[in-house]
Symmetry: C2
Subunit: 595 residues, 2 copies
């Protein structure tokens, strides 16, 4: 099993020097909260909880996953207490609205804590993650009564929340939802079955609030006939106390590759009482309200699991003795494997991409804050446009990298990485889900290339590229070899992104199927170049700080890491642009029978 300590120094660097914490803190909605003053203290406290409480439960949660006993899900050892502490610590409502007893802090501050929860214990972290999604939907679309009854307890963490979307025939395509809702008085009676419901049942809270997609008997077919319902596990009496058990039952758990500590439930509803959330037949749209937030959080999972895997790999590489240093041949003394060049390559590949992901994700979190809280509607719109464009990249690029990096983690451990007890393999198994749930990588890519890019004919992407070019220009003035190399690589990356974007726009106009066949390549291209852009910004800051003699060890490390990203990671962009340019025709050319 592996340990974890939050990389608070890098988190603070990214928040304050790259993602604009000061600007966020200065927004009218946050001004009085003293965000910049509390940020470091909050990170330190969160780190304590993550490293001391959640991280030690991670391996046990894997080995003794959630299980069923008499129709009730029993959580992994220690999870119940940990969840109570988590709620009592106020962590669940860190960025939730103050009017419902949340702390009203910005996403930019909430996001590093999510990174910590997921790095410490991804299975556990899924509970607040899904709960926050449900909270978000109710906040935006619930009646005042629903909000008053449910939000404060969901935000405090006293009650949990889940999203009940998937059915056997309705996965990526939710338009095929079959669950039925029949009106009865002030509520609906819901029947049907859902699958893959993360934390769909558990013993960590007194009540669980399900948000359920279902269809009225006379509803139109397809997406336009789906409504959203709030369905508590225990009905709530008018005085707020818990009433009768609602007929929502967990009837099975999945036997999964990873995230064993998080119960993945099949839920059966038998005349279960549900309350309409928002408007009839607009359930899918309402549910999508929480989508950007959920996508960012899954991107954060990719980042978080990478960080955990990296820390484990570094610790092992510093401890494991094997072979000799390259220069002194067999005569010298044996060395720890961190001295081997290829182990360095693996660790740098992990580290540089982790830092790129962190910079990119926190920037997206800032865009969430700005797009919701900026006083100027034009500015809000501009932030929102960029957020909408890049959010599928956050989700898909980071979750794909999460798998790659966790797999490198296993490789650093060598044979020991294949042995479960070291914990390296768990990180790979856990990471593997993140490219699938909350919209697969393919779906994110179709959203990016087929909707977001096309919608404004590439205008939002052009604005991103313009910002990248500005960074490239800033690098032009610098004299150091590192900055020159970073500039050159970023320039190639921007060129690749421009070529890929043009090719994608042209393909979408001519042959959308072939274009979509290339959309994942395009998304990954955007991701790598965005990472390079942020690492280049980090290098510029580091360069300044080094000139000023500040925290030289940190900033030197940052500069070298940015250089490595430029040398070794960003060249992927050129290859990806080539694949986009080649077009998707050969991808689609076989008949079904030829497979």
């Amino acid at each position: 099993m592996t340990v974890y300590a939050a990389p608070t120094r890098d988190m603070l660097f990214v928040m304050t020097e790259l993602a604009g914490l000061d600007e966020v803190a200065a927004l009218p909605d946050y001004q009085e909260l003293g965000v910049t003053d509390v940020a470091e203290a909050i990170l330190e406290e969160a780190n304590k909880f993550a490293s001391e409480v959640l991280a030690p439960l991670n391996w046990g949660g894997d080995q003794q996953g959630a299980r069923m006993e008499n129709g009730q899900v029993i959580s992994s050892p220690g999870f119940v207490d940990a969840y109570k502490n988590f709620a009592e610590g106020g962590w669940n409502g860190l960025s939730a609205p103050i009017e419902y007893d949340g702390q009203g802090l910005p996403e930019l501050l909430n996001t590093p804590t999510y990174e910590m929860w997921n790095a410490a214990n991804m299975s556990f972290a899924l509970a607040p993650l899904l709960g926050a999604g449900a909270t978000e939907c109710i906040k935006h679309h619930g009646s005042d009564e629903l909000k008053a009854t449910y939000l404060p307890k969901m935000i405090s963490g006293e009650w949990a929340g889940t999203m009940d979307l998937t059915e056997p025939a309705a996965g990526s395509d939710l338009s095929n939802v079959k669950c039925r809702a029949v009106p009865e008085g002030d509520h609906y009676l819901i029947n049907g079955q859902k699958i893959f419901i993360t934390w769909g049942d558990h013993d960590m809270t007194d009540n669980i609030i399900h948000l359920v997609l279902a269809r009225l008997p006379d509803a139109p077919e397809g997406v336009k006939g789906i409504s959203l319902f709030l369905m508590p596990k225990f009905l709530v009496n008018p005085d707020g106390s818990l009433g009768a058990r609602n007929k929502v039952d967990c009837v099975g758990l999945e036997h999964k590759l990873g995230i064993h500590g998080s119960a993945t439930c099949t839920l059966a509803y038998e005349d279960a009482v549900g309350y309409l959330v928002g408007n009839l037949n607009q359930g899918l749209m309402h549910m999508f309200t929480m989508m950007n937030e959920a996508r960012l959080k899954v991107g954060i999972q990719g980042l978080a699991i990478s960080e955990r895997a990296y820390q484990a790999a570094v610790a092992y590489a510093k401890e494991r003795v094997q072979g000799f240093a390259m220069k002194g041949t067999r005569g010298g003394s044996r060395v720890t494997i961190i001295n081997h060049p290829d182990v360095r390559r693996m660790l740098m590949t992990m580290k540089s991409q982790i830092e790129a992901m962190r910079a990119f994700n926190y920037l997206i979190a800032m865009h969430m804050d700005m797009s919701a809280h900026h006083p100027d509607p034009e500015a809000r719109k501009a932030y929102k446009t960029r957020l909408e464009l890049l959010i599928p990249v956050t989700k898909a690029w980071c979750s794909e990298l999460g798998i790659e990096i966790a797999s490198i983690g296993v490789q650093v451990f060598g044979g020991m990485g294949f042995v479960e007890e070291t914990g390296a393999a768990q990180h790979l198994r856990d990471a593997r889900i993140a490219t699938i749930y909350e919209g697969t990588t393919g779906i994110q890519a179709a959203d990016l290339a087929g909707r977001k890019l096309v919608m404004d004919k590439g205008a939002a992407m052009a604005s991103v590229i313009a910002d990248m070019r500005a960074v490239e220009e800033q690098l032009a003035g610098a004299s150091s070899d590192d900055l020159a190399a970073i500039r050159s690589s970023l320039g190639e990356g921007i060129k690749a992104l421009s070529i890929g974007t043009e090719a994608m726009l042209a393909a979408m106009a001519q042959n959308p199927s072939a274009a979509i066949a290339n959309s994942v390549n395009y998304l990954m291209l955007v991701g790598y170049v965005c990472g390079g852009w942020q690492m280049a910004r980090a290098a510029l800051v580091a360069n300044q700080k080094l000139a000023a003699g500040e925290d030289t060890d940190f900033y030197q490390t940052k500069l070298i890491t940015a250089r490595f990203y430029a040398d070794q990671i960003l060249p992927k962009a050129t290859a990806l642009a080539q694949t986009v340019k080649a077009g998707g025709e050969s991808t689609l050319a076989l008949t079904e029978e030829q497979f």
Copy 2:
């Protein structure tokens, strides 16, 4: 759980039309065996055994792995009978020497059967794989008495063989082996412990023949003091019957990420009787005799598990209904997911790389045959040189792709891929070991860039590149768009390989550590371009056959698959060349503390 049927059509295509089965069959050593006549029948029979006997045991082997009972390892359900059938079918000795009751067939024919065993059941296939390695060592270095006593029964499969190399402090670096061997009469008494011994104990055969690395008390330190010993589980009486139980005991099994059906043993020797194989203190060198063969076979594992994952993904994609066809919007009827462009991309990414790996691996198998059996010593030497150069690429490139492709397989299944019962996840878990054992990817890359490439100053690689250019020129004559695109992409690939090779040679001369830090990138570059080279050759053959109207469905599919490889896979070469050219300095620039 997934099913498997061997892709015999493609196997035969690769053997006969790309890898030169006719030439191999015409070698004096094989001439009388009628290799070309029996090839298809052998593949069909092997397919029956693989698909009907081994494949159905794969999932059970995962769920109920090998276990210990009273100090004895009990194999997974069905494995004992399957192994007896395997031996009785003569599969174990297909390419073993006729003088020891093998069938003496070429590796080029043996290799497709290894692909089948590993695709059907990788855990099971490890038993004959390790046995063949042990056999090879004894054949080359054992005394006549050892050979007469042990080889026939090991080759028939009546007895199994293992390689006992690793110790807790001697993994990648075997020079640190601590096991002790003390001479006593005609044998040695061996004491010590080994770990990670694949199939180190089991109940599938009456006897298990261990090849053990150990050190005499007065042996020199390091690599030059290690000897190789043959240590039977049961001593063998002069009449060939089994005698006393030797003191080699399994004292523990690893709890692993995958290949659960294959016991990974900790073995303890207490005054265990061992017989010297070859010369004292030359054990490491003797053991390396079987290395090329073992590396090819692990490369084959990467190919095989990819094929298995691909077949599962195709079957699921043809069956799973989700979403709508792109052209008809939401009004149309729902379609199977194979109709979605991104699913096509995933399947083509799997298929094209599988076919490239197969072509490359079988070519290597042909080089093994030619380098051992060609009547002209000069020709033998030439084949051997190329074999030595490319064997680390076979092992590392294919095992890396195996992980990637098995992971794509999970992705095609979506949420169901994360559920263990579908079997997609098992393929990923099983595939994950292949980049680690038999020399990690990093070790293969160091062998390629640090030894093989440098040894002849790039001459062998230049000859490979010259052969690639000849294919590029052959493509020049063709008029079809597909061939033109393949030519252009291959040209870029060759350019990248030349640039990368020059950069690597220069770096090895100037800064070997930095060069080695880039060696995995270089190895992957060689792999992708070799794949492109073979797919281009396949496209040329397909083009001819299509012109002649032969088997148009197969050859059309092949041509399109080669085109896809050129469009979508081979561009990676350009990026990898850039990373090699960028140099490894930034990889090595951090201090240990900065991680």
